[in-house]
């Protein structure tokens, strides 16, 4: 029973810190929703006319009815709360152009993009970890070469990389199909295109982290206990280096979601990217906002999870100053 006191106190501070981070995340999502509402107000034109479409013979009475049904007559704060209420129940509004709920449109296109992003994340992390672990602490021609490749990779625009890969592997060598999303072979080139620039960044940050960790006193201690060089690197250094890598999760997700728009365009793949681009071109704002809000929520959720995981994993973050 004697141990309960301090443990409870520690649990309570941890919970409080976790609560603060969750509240921060909720505030950011609320902010994104507010921004979306503001964007909807900014679009010029009569929303009823947009909803009805260009070719309509609706009478003024019908228009008034729609106006009242959608609540366009209400004062701004009421409309704002109504909009937030809709979002909470998972209603992202209706597309101006396609006359369908935005959630239906996104649901139809979500799967190919999730496939693409998941494949790219896996590929990027594997490439980054291998290239960073193999080349840390060495001054060799290999390292110079790998670092040069990373620099080129992170500076290359997705759309150009995609076009070069298409030219070489689809049109010259005929190894992979040039377009579509019908099977795994069609996923290879888009996933590589999306993964390489991100992998270049992750590898640089990871190497930096490993090298910082290798200078720490505990590395000398581990070596003195007789652990091998590679053993220290894998068991201790990578774990420390994972922290800065994890903080990049939010950035990487955003980068991949944004890059997916470009990559899907290059490869003519169906997905959220083509949906978004069509919506931007036709200024179908509810659809664009739906995709943006969904991405922002994904970024915030991932970022918060990483933050909480680090709080649980790294005791140094639990000191009073960090909380």
């Amino acid at each position: 029973m004697r141990a309960v006191g301090p443990v409870r106190r520690r649990e309570r501070t941890l919970l409080r810190a976790a609560g603060r981070r969750l509240a921060g995340a909720a505030a950011v999502v609320l902010g994104a929703a507010t921004l979306a509402f503001a964007a909807l107000q900014l679009l010029p034109g009569d929303p009823v006319a947009v909803l009805l479409g260009p070719a309509t013979s609706a009478s003024p009475q019908v228009r008034e009815q729609i106006r009242a049904d959608f609540g366009f007559d209400e004062p701004l704060p009421v409309r704002y709360l109504h909009y937030l209420g809709q979002l909470v129940t998972g209603d992202l509004g209706r597309s101006y152009q396609r006359q369908q709920p935005v959630t239906t449109l996104i649901g139809e296109q979500l799967w190919p993009t999730v496939q693409l992003v998941a494949a790219s994340v896996t590929l990027a992390v594997v490439v980054a970890v291998v290239s960073a672990v193999v080349t840390t602490g060495r001054r060799s021609a290999l390292r110079t070469l790998v670092e040069l490749v990373e620099l080129v990779a992170l500076s290359t625009p997705h759309f150009w990389l995609g076009i070069v890969l298409l030219t070489v592997f689809s049109f010259r060598l005929h190894v992979f199909p040039a377009a579509g999303a019908q099977d795994l072979a069609a996923l290879v080139l888009p996933a590589v295109t999306l993964a390489l620039p991100v992998a270049g960044v992750l590898a640089q940050v990871l190497r930096e982290g490993i090298e910082t960790a290798l200078e720490q006193p505990f590395v000398v201690a581990a070596r003195a206990r007789g652990r091998s060089r590679l053993g220290v690197r894998l068991r201790h250094a990578v774990r420390h280096a994972a922290a800065p890598l994890l903080t990049l999760t939010g950035w990487a997700t955003g980068s991949l979601l944004g890059g997916a728009v470009l990559v899907e365009t290059v490869f003519g793949r169906p997905g959220l990217g083509s949906l978004t681009l069509q919506a931007v071109t036709s200024r179908d704002l509810p659809v664009v906002l739906g995709v943006v809000l969904l991405s922002a929520t994904a970024v915030v959720v991932l970022f918060t999870l990483v933050d909480l995981a680090q709080l649980a994993l790294d005791p140094r973050l639990r000191t009073a100053a960090a909380l």
Binding site: L154, S155, I163, A178, Q204, E208, G254, T265, V280
Partner: protein
């Protein structure tokens, strides 16, 4: 890329330069590439006699060779000439976007640093919200609201990049505000406006401008991405991203139409990144923090 460079810049402040891995000759080559790009942008006529819109249907889709270094496109226009003339548009778009983003960042950051508790909270919140939106999607959202076109894409890219600079300006301004000479200036009775203009801004701006060098590469890349998606420059303008998108339809038969403009974008961005990181490393070493 900007967020990452902020992370790496932090690492540089702690210990050492992220640019150390790039040897000095590499920096020189990168600087030379940038100088060449700048010269070409100012005076494209030096490198080529032809005009970017000269149509020559007889010699359409000719491969790269001695007559046409980069080949010709579907209308017989010389791809090399178009890449050379495209430098001006593409560099200007990137420059305008990053300039606007830094200006916006200075306003937001100073307002946050000087605006008292509530001002700081609101602007920090806004920055957090903007940082949560993927930059490319945020830019697309702005284009959806404003409509397509060159000027609107510049605004869109600036909006997408502004939160990074806002946050950085705020941090730097807070550091300056806490320093001894600002205290002395306040003690001497300097007015707030003069204090900000003469002491806070010049001292806070250094790291921001250094980060903006790398940000210029990002802005250039986003600008060509939006043109590639058909939302920025319109034909027949020789803009690198737009040329790439036109070349996409001819990949099977004439790879050179799309590949060379893309190579120009990539080469410029690499050069900007190398030079920018070198500056970051140098600055971090000199400031000693």
């Amino acid at each position: 890329m900007t967020a990452v460079d902020a992370v790496l810049a932090g690492a540089a402040r702690r210990r050492r330069a992220p640019g150390r891995s790039v040897p000095r000759p590499g920096v020189l080559v990168a600087a030379a590439v940038l100088a060449l790009a700048a010269c070409v942008a100012v005076a494209p006529g030096l490198l080529t006699d032809a005009a970017p819109t000269d149509i020559d249907p007889v010699h359409a889709l000719v491969g790269p060779g001695t007559d046409h270094w980069f080949g010709t496109d579907q209308l017989g226009r010389d791809v090399f000439t178009r890449v050379v003339y495209g430098a001006r548009t593409s560099l200007l778009l990137g420059l305008a976007a990053i300039g606007l983003a830094v200006a916006g960042g200075v306003v937001l950051g100073l307002a946050a640093a000087l605006g008292g508790r509530s001002g700081e909270r609101i602007i920090t919140w806004l920055t957090d919200v903007l940082l949560a939106l993927p930059p490319v999607l945020l830019a697309l959202l702005v284009v959806a609201v404003l409509g397509a076109g060159t000027a609107n894409t510049v605004v869109a890219i600036a909006v997408a990049l502004v939160p990074v600079y806002g946050r950085l300006v705020r941090t730097e301004a807070m550091l300056v505000l806490r320093s001894g000479y600002v205290e002395a200036a306040v003690g001497l009775g300097l007015r707030r406006g003069v204090l900000v203009a003469r002491h806070v801004l010049p001292n806070a701006l250094g790291p921001v401008l250094v980060l903006a060098t790398v940000g210029f590469g990002t802005a250039l890349m986003y600008a060509s991405a939006l043109s590639f998606l058909g939302l920025g420059s319109s034909p027949p303008s020789p803009e690198w991203g737009l040329m790439l998108s036109e070349g996409r339809d001819f990949l099977q038969t004439a790879w050179w139409i799309g590949v060379f403009p893309g190579a120009a974008i990539t080469l410029t961005v690499i050069a900007v990144t190398v030079v920018g990181r070198y500056l970051q490393a140098r600055f971090a070493g000199r400031a000693g923090r």
